[in-house]
Amino acid sequence: MKAVKAVDAESSRSALAERTGMAAFTRVAPARAIRWAVLVVVLVVIVLAVPVLLSTYWVQILTSVAIYSIVTLSLAVLMGRVGLVSLGQIALLAVGGWVALRLGFAFGPALPFPLLVLITGAITSVIGTLIGLPALRLSGLYLALITLMAAAAITQVLAATNFPNGGEGFLGHSSANVGNAVLARPDVMASDAGFYRVVVVVTAVMFLIAILHVNGKAGRAWAAIRQSEAAAIAAGVNVTLYKLWAFALASFMTGIAGCLLAASAGGLTTYGFPTQDSITLLAVVLMGGIYSFWGPIVSAVLLKLIPEFLKNWGLPADVLTILFGLGVLQAMTTAPAGLAVQVPKDLANLGRALTGLARKRLVRVPAPEEHAR
């Protein structure tokens, strides 16, 4: 009885979010073409104009926002679409970075960068799936716990092995080589502006892959699994396969983000991936929203851009951690759809309330009832 009730509540909640969240994205068919055109124009402006207008410092920060939006996207797809919670995405990001550096130092320029990105994604995908595998047969809580433990374990192992920096042996780390481990970039993106452009394009491709998945067969299977696993099995959905597929996809994306991060300015340090960050990531993804594709972008801005603003204003970043914690509690109790959906909805409600109020004052006619919508 309890379980049935919980499932009911969950499915009605997600159905609601489905309506509100997706409505924003694909409301009417004719509007879709215009929407895509606008998106493409915005993307072109972001790619071409931003590096010209901003200083190198902010270009680097926007680069990391773009890279982290791939990570938040992967977690948003896992949580919002499939209902799987992973608490180890940041650790997987570090794994992606490690693999990329290892391959980069092993093969050097002989391995073209696009190929390196893809191979890193594939290897990380295998590792991520292996981590999730034992828990996928159990309930979602166990997957969350096992990924949290994996995150802690990976952080510890990384602290011991460090990132490859051209040293000998399998681990490829030599304490004789000073400085951070950075992946060499090909000439096309040697400058920060060039690298930024490549990263934005890769990010756009990742979002496209996610959108195609969600709108395709996989997305339908995931929706069925999320709403009721038993019903999905009854309907002939291969639950284990599609869960694994989602996990593999998310790890693939995270791996690619790790590869880009390894090539970005400053490179990688072992203290750059604490376990705490995996929880912070979950918080921002929940706050940004997991049902809309705008959510991951909002999340990445919360994660990487807002702290920079705070730093510039001289405010402690810890305030943000506390706010993120409050955000998780709020998202869990009242607003499961996140900021990307909640804020427009709240604004719309506010607007309706204001116009209703104004109409009442002027015309002295009761405001239209709910069905007028």
């Binding site: 433990m149 510890q156 705490q276 914690g325």
Partner: protein
Amino acid sequence: MPDLRPYLVLGLALGGVFALSGVGLVVLFRATGVLNLAYGAVGALGALIAWSLINNLGFPDWAGYVVALAFGGIATLAYGVVFGPPLAQRDPLVKAVASLGLTLILLGIMSWGWSYQAHALILPTTNWGFDLGGVRVNGTQLLGLGLGIFVTGFTAAFLRFTKVGVAMRSLANHREITAMLGVPVRRVEAAAWLGSGLLSGATGLLLSTLVGLDIVGLTFLVIASLSAALVGRLNSLTVTLVAGLAIGVVQSSLTAFLAVSSYRTVTPFVFAIVALLWFGFSQRGVRST
């Protein structure tokens, strides 16, 4: 083969504390369905408050320890009373994720308030000790192991023989029916939150002496206790105790082997993975969620 006896003592003490907090997690999970991932953070903040009271404000030691325990109990109880009921009907996963929100809040408070000072909290029991087969055993280590065993036994007896304990067990089976039978559900749940919170305060104090008063370290030591609780299927207190001790001993003994000593903190994860693989493929239903 290096001499493992000193590590065995350390490991049993550490394992006792893992078991202690594992039991705290299991009791709360059984009664309320909440896996409180903020368990370690609450204990850590309690220990930091005790440290400040003793070192900065000149409180007597015992008062600091009492405040740390009380903080654990009250903070956990407050969270449970505020966020327990609205989430009661949700999936255990949602409840666990919500407790991560509390973890972040506490982490933020701790790194805001205590980050720029060096801390060390040494329980007075550490100064007392005896020799056992050529190995020095101090009071805190004995306390860790003893408290772990005692709390496991006490909790098992409490759940078995007292009225509140029976109510907690029936809550674990079925919340609605328990409420229908006239059990004051929220009051029983509050008791579980309080008890679990007091244990988290004790865990924080013991660990800050045994391992060190480090914000992030203490917060995420919950992971080791979690593996112990997972091996016990979030249900069995005895298995949790044994698993906690085993994790502590193995992790501590690995310190002696140079090749793997820097990877020893992976031990709890390995235990949990093996346990989950076993559960997953033995098909003996894990506590349904």
